[in-house]
């Protein structure tokens, strides 16, 4: 039985080293611009950083994937094409792309470069995935976080390219690459500018013991004293409906699918992905080490150790997300 591949995030060179040292099989990262979906201030890699990262990772037999997974602006393709060219030149093991134009460019210009389809492409059915394989030679698809495990099993039975699924971290509950909530509130979106709910439009206001979070001038949540807080995204906003404040889309919670390793293996999943390029290296080291330990135990047929990752997660709670529940 082929072991799962563990794909880990890195938002900076120190986080990359932490991920490699903690047992990642591959690390994914982005350049310091709008070409990737974690375009946060102070985050990401210069070209020199990527060269050093690749050298560090390859010396330890760990792969590096470069995420170039936003949609190029009309009439301004150059930064995205340059990102693909540089990833190939810097010897990345794969690029993670979402846009069909960019996939086409990469397939023609760099036929030897391994192409992965980003979750941002939201390819969730057999026809879409076959199209990406046939048209561009995509070798792996990162599945959107809206599928159940039986959905994934059915999909894998009908396609012949690898699938990668998220197992830990922040949840994007909408169909990824299609969500316009951030654009609505701020004019900026993860799909084009690479950032959902950009920090420039976020304000936190302590109100007595409460904490109000505001996005683009809208108050989207008020956390009571002692209540765990979450990211300031509209999908996890708490709104008053019929006089009752409630989470309408999703509660502040994080994905943790560690208990589903046997089901994911049976469903034919090749690689497991940890979310969190925006997180600090302490998160990366802790979560990657926990998953490494779990995967090693699982590969040996031993019981998966129960590891406490509560302290790391949004809202202080964990969920198996759509994997285990019927979609609302």
């Amino acid at each position: 039985m082929e072991p799962f591949e563990l794909i880990c995030p890195a938002g900076n060179p120190a986080a990359l080293r932490a991920a490699v040292d903690a047992g990642a099989d591959a690390v994914y990262l982005g350049f310091r611009d709008e070409t990737n979906a974690r375009n946060f201030p102070g985050l990401n890699f210069s070209r020199e950083d990527v060269a050093e990262a690749v050298a560090y990772a390859h010396a330890r037999k760990v792969q590096v994937f470069v995420a170039i997974n936003t949609y190029p602006q009309a009439g301004n393709l150059a930064p995205w094409q340059r990102a693909v060219d540089d990833a190939a030149r810097l010897k990345a093991d794969a690029v993670i792309l979402a846009d069909v134009g960019l996939l086409d460019y990469a397939a023609r210009r760099h036929p030897d470069l391994r192409l992965h389809l980003s979750v941002q492409a939201s390819a969730a059915n057999v026809e879409a995935i076959r199209l990406y394989r046939d048209a561009f030679g995509v070798r792996r698809v990162v599945l959107p976080r809206v599928l159940t495990v039986p959905d994934i099993a059915r999909l894998n039975a009908e396609i012949d390219i690898e699938t990668e699924v998220f197992v830990f971290g922040g949840l994007c509950p909408m169909a990824e690459g299609r969500c316009s909530l951030s654009s609505y509130a701020t004019g900026l979106s993860p799909n084009k500018q690479g950032v959902c709910s950009p920090a420039s439009h976020v304000r936190y206001e302590p109100r007595g013991g409460d904490l109000a979070s505001r996005l683009g001038g809208f108050t989207i949540n008020i956390f009571g004293e002692g209540e765990q807080a979450g990211y300031p995204t509209l999908c996890k906003g708490r709104f008053v409906s019929h006089d009752t404040p409630a989470y309408l889309f999703e509660e502040p919670t994080s994905l943790n699918a560690m208990e589903l390793l046997p089901e994911l293996k049976a469903a034919g999943v090749r690689a497991l992905k940890i979310e969190g390029r925006q997180r600090g290296k302490a998160y990366i080291a802790t979560v990657v080490a926990a998953y490494r330990r779990a995967l090693d135990a699982f590969a040996k047929g031993q019981a998966v150790p129960k590891l406490d990752l509560d302290a790391m997660v949004e809202g202080g709670t964990q969920t198996t997300g759509a994997y285990k529940r019927a979609w609302r």
Binding site: A14, Y204, G280, K281, A290, L307
Partner: protein
């Protein structure tokens, strides 16, 4: 960094050493406030030069930020710090109510953990151990820049301290061990001896040792 599978309520040697560092930091802030802007400012400039030598990439990034002031408020320390980022990068001791573009508030130990990347800022924020106000992008830029470094404030300063350079990390490691031995002795000792040990412990860790 703690192994998630090995969590216990027992403070580790590292926790104990950190308690010593927190007390040193508090004492440093008190001293800097007493020295005032002149001499205190010189001390901070020296500290900044040491850190800039060790972490040129991070300091270059901080200089490139637009001019802005960030108030760093360790709520359990005698004073706060005002960090000016941008071309006139500087750090000064400050009152807690100083005007700033953004404010980060939290316990001194947590802020040190954050500075050195020992803890994840988002996790601290989720748990409400950290309060942030004002320009969120500025705070994020600073956090991400510092997290990209492998910074160890006390070791960095020790490295610059010439002959002390090997002594400080060893002293810090041993402080953790000594405090652990004291803890054990404390638990096993009869009450009168326990009071004596408590007094000794306070002298090693400072008056407000946190476990």
């Amino acid at each position: 960094m703690r192994d998630p599978g090995m969590q216990t309520d027992e403070p580790t040697d590292d926790d104990r050493a950190r308690a010593v560092e927190v007390n040193l930091t508090r004492a440093g802030l008190r001293l800097a406030r007493q020295l005032g802007d002149g001499l205190g400012g010189l001390l901070f400039d020296r500290l900044f030069r040491i850190l800039a030598d060790r972490h040129p990439r991070a300091f270059a990034a901080l200089v490139e930020l637009p001019d802005a002031r960030l108030l760093i408020d360790p709520v359990d320390a005698p004073a706060a710090l005002l960090l000016r980022v941008g071309p006139q990068l500087a750090l000064r001791v400050s009152e807690r109510d100083a005007q700033a573009d953004a404010t980060v508030r939290g316990p001194c130990g947590r802020l040190l953990d954050l500075l050195e990347g020992r803890i994840d800022g988002d996790a601290l924020f989720f748990r409400r151990e950290l309060t942030i106000e004002g320009d969120t992008a500025l705070i994020l830029a600073l956090r991400n820049t510092l997290d990209g470094e492998e910074m160890d404030l006390f070791a960095d300063v020790a490295t610059a301290a010439g002959p002390l350079r090997h002594a400080l990390p060893v002293a810090r490691r041993n402080a953790g061990r000594v405090l652990r031995l004291l803890d054990t002795a404390h638990r096993l000792a009869p009450p009168p001896l326990r009071w004596g040990l408590a007094a000794l412990e306070r002298r090693v860790a400072g008056p407000r040792r946190e476990a």
